[in-house]
Amino acid sequence: MTETVGIVIVSHSSDIAKGTADMVRQMVGSEVKVAFCGGNPDGGLGTSVQLIIDAINAAWSPKGVAVLVDLGGAETNSEMAVEMLEPARRDLVVVCNAPIVEGAVMAATEAAGGSTLAQVKAVAEELSAD
């Protein structure tokens, strides 16, 4: 099987993160690796840099990983997580400027066809283009 870009979903809510990942798996299929994290380590709403790093590594692919986020802190913490990755991986992770559910489904659909990380990001961001 050819490698596909991995998808990471980062929400403030673990329910939203898990539900979004479920939608991707059911709609797109299992050929794309999907990892998710949501909530802070105490079980409340929030995002955790360490959990985001773990999710990126879980979804890792040599073609890279596209991260979909919800609100404010999810984005800044995801950017921080990318900076804390081992150097060889940093340049192969992008945080997409896209709605989390729609972006994740479309990014995964594009990834399933074997597209590059740049193509996957562009498709996810098509929705916020205009």
Binding site: M27, V28, G29, V105, M106, T109, E110, A112, G113, G114, S115, V123, E126, L127
Partner: protein, 100 residues
């Protein structure tokens, strides 16, 4: 063979039998299947002014084809004929699980 078929355009028409029309799941399946071909593939609801790139999931979802409408498919490129046949089959068979 100097006379390659690259310039030839293949077309197909198929009725959308899916109960709720072209919603998210069928759109994902159609796009995934289209991406398996090298050919340039476009679709539209019959008579619509614009053709839509069949490999763009966002545009396919947005085309809002209704139940019972006819989808027109056209393709050009090396595997265009097979692409049209596969997409017609996908729509006609109501987007079975595992397809695409």
């Amino acid at each position: 063979m100097l006379d390659r078929a690259d310039g030839q355009i293949f077309t197909g028409n198929v009725r959308l039998v899916h109960a709720v029309g072209m919603h998210a799941r069928p759109a994902v399946k159609l796009t995934k299947l289209a991406k398996k071909f090298q050919a340039q593939i476009s679709v539209r609801v019959a008579g619509a002014p614009e053709w839509i790139n069949a490999k763009s999931v966002a545009k396919i979802m947005a085309m809002r084809a209704a139940h019972g409408s006819t989808i027109e498919i056209k393709a050009s490129g090396t595997d265009a004929e097979a692409a049209v046949a596969a997409l017609v089959d996908l729509v006609a068979s109501d987007f079975p699980d595992g397809a695409g």
